[in-house]
């Protein structure tokens, strides 16, 4: 049995008449890049939200690093090492780039009921902030207000914030969304660099990126997992071709 970092056991989630997750059992091994793909409306973001703790499943269990986290609130999961980036850029626009990252660093350094010392000169925050900035290639932009970054840079910052706490698992919700070809290449390189140092669950529409990055792929259709396997395996899977790739090949 391989070493699983994240496992879901028969997740169920309904929104009214729509079944967003159906008997969903997902397995992410430690150290792999696992991609979650599927046509629009397949329930990919719903899965991410359930894993991150933003919505609670109707039934089923979620195990993370050997611990059941099904009912834990989002902030507790983050503390356990489960970080996520958002599909729609979700950064603190009124703060500088460095402050954005520093907040993420701060979240993993014990409580923040520290009322006195100025956070901007806090040595304990500065060093990890700088290294996180370097990891996503934003070290030149650290003093710039986040609002004035370019779109691609905002996406980098988005991922940088998720990385700053040295998570065990990174949930990337469409990191390439809305990017031009140049940005996509840059982001692919970034994820490639991260590969091996942590586990990544990647939701992405850019199939080129998915096939070049993912160790294994799970295909989701109408909330249900219809196939799991390597890129090779998925490409040739008949059901996948019919349900999914067939529609995508214009």
């Amino acid at each position: 049995m391989r070493d699983l970092l994240l496992e879901t056991d028969n997740l169920e989630k309904r929104f009214g008449a729509v079944q967003a997750s159906k008997h969903l059992s997902l397995q992410v091994a430690r150290g792999e890049v696992h991609a979650l793909i599927g046509p629009n409306g397949a329930g990919k973001t719903t899965v991410i939200k359930q894993l991150a703790g933003e919505i609670m499943p109707d039934a089923g269990r979620i195990l993370f690093d050997g611990q059941e986290i099904t009912c834990l609130p989002a902030h507790r999961r983050a503390r356990l090492g489960l970080a996520r980036s958002f599909q729609i850029t979700s950064i603190f626009e009124q703060m500088t780039v460095a402050e954005n990252i520093a907040l993420a660093v701060q979240a993993h350094m014990g409580h923040s009921f520290r009322f006195w010392r100025a956070a901007a000169n806090d040595r304990q925050l500065l060093e990890p902030t700088e290294s996180a900035l370097e990891r996503v290639g934003l070290e030149q932009r650290s003093r710039v207000p986040a609002a004035s970054l370019s779109y691609g840079e905002k996406r980098q910052l988005e991922v940088g914030m998720a990385l700053a706490g040295n998570p065990k698992l990174l949930l990337l919700d469409e990191p390439m969304a809305g990017m031009g070809p140049g940005g996509t290449v840059k982001m692919t390189e970034l994820i490639q660099r991260l590969k091996g140092s942590l586990t990544i669950l990647l939701v992405e529409h850019d199939m080129h990126a998915v096939f070049s990055l993912a160790d294994r792929i799970t295909v989701l259709v109408y909330g249900e997992s219809i196939a799991v396997g390597t890129a090779q395996h998925i490409r040739s899977h008949p059901e996948v071709r019919r349900a999914y790739l067939g529609e995508e090949q214009e």
């Binding site: 609130p73 989002a74 507790r76 958002f86 979700s90 993420a104 009921f113 009322f115 100025a118 914030m161």
Partner: protein, 331 residues
């Protein structure tokens, strides 16, 4: 955004100089009422700064801040009532003597206001947006009715305080000394708030204002941080209440009335939301305007109302932002 440190220092320096020299200027001008008026301004500034901590930095629009001002004032009033009366504050479960020593009464009042803020905040902060506004309003109103129903303490009519609290070395009944005590309280609170806003805690609170969901996914239990911020603001409001009770030598349910909360919001926005010093300018502007307009007409509110609407629609940066060229959330 034009941000000039020099202009900012000039504005703050001028303001501070005026406040420091005010009693001297008042006696030079032969108008002791100025001292009373400016003491009032300082006290309301303190209340407004504390409100700005939650509105401007924490994004929690409370329409019930006057409740904490009222609680602080009532603690002073009730204690002084018992001191005057010679009766015990509590006879059960243990006997407790009332006191009028400022060093005892003031911290107690501030603490009680903060605890009430924890209580009110813990329910209110389960909601956000419109509901939060209405709930804070409703809680304040609840305490207002509680104060009205306190027959033993004057009910509707409130409590007259026979003498201001006692402080060693300083005679609070002297208006100039009292003025300086108010100034010290305001400056200390401003300094504490300054530390707070730029600390790790302050960053978390500002982050929660901008994007609460993201803060949670980063690992912050935002509710707790907001609650602590809410109660710190409550403590500030309580201190302002303590000073008001001492200045007026009178407390009444009117202090807790929701229009009073509304006025505090006006001060914050008028001065500049999310700036530490803005609310001080806002308090000064509103109270001075009230003073000037009411000299001309008793119906000055007919003009104040539309003026507020114009401020909202066209002058969002507030007086401080306009004077110093600074936008919100920087200082």
């Amino acid at each position: 955004m034009s941000f000039s440190p020099f202009r900012r220092r000039l504005v703050l320096g001028t303001g501070l100089t005026i406040l420091l020299l005010l009693p001297a200027m008042a006696s030079f001008a032969g108008d002791p009422y100025l001292i009373t008026l400016f003491s009032r301004i300082l006290i309301y500034a303190l209340a407004a700064v504390s409100l700005d901590l939650i509105i401007g930095y924490g994004g929690m629009v409370s329409l019930g801040h006057a409740a904490f001002v009222g609680i602080g004032a009532y603690v002073v009033g009730i204690l002084s009532f018992h001191v005057q009366d010679g009766s015990l504050l509590l006879s059960w479960p243990f006997e407790l003597q009332a006191s009028d020593a400022a060093l005892l009464v003031w911290p107690a009042a501030v603490l009680i206001s903060a605890l009430m803020a924890v209580l009110i905040g813990s329910v209110s902060l389960r909601t956000s947006g419109l509901q939060f506004i209405m709930i804070t309003l409703a809680f304040a109103q609840m305490l207002f009715y509680l104060a009205v129903s306190l027959e033993a303490y004057g009910g509707d009519d409130g409590i007259s305080i026979w003498s201001r609290n006692r402080l060693p070395l300083v005679d609070l009944s002297d208006d100039s000394s009292f003025y300086y005590i108010c100034l010290v309280c305001l400056l200390v609170f401003l300094y504490l708030s300054h530390r707070l806003v730029f600390s790790r805690f302050g960053r978390v609170v500002r982050g929660a204002k901008q994007n609460e969901l993201r803060m949670q996914s980063l690992g912050f239990p935002t509710y707790r941080y907001k609650l602590v911020c809410f109660s710190i603001a409550g403590a500030g409001g309580g201190l302002a209440g303590v000073l008001i009770a001492n200045q007026n030598e009178f407390v009444s349910p009117g202090l807790l009335h929701w229009t009073h909360s509304g006025e505090l919001i006006v001060m914050v926005l008028l001065g500049g939301m999310g700036t530490l010093f803005g609310p001080v300018f806002g308090a000064a502007a509103l109270l001075l305007m009230e003073e000037l307009l009411s000299a001309y007409t008793e119906h000055w509110m007919v003009f104040l109302g539309p003026f507020l609407i114009l401020v909202v629609l066209f002058a969002k940066r507030g007086i401080y932002g306009w004077l110093s060229g600074a936008g919100g959330n920087h200082a």
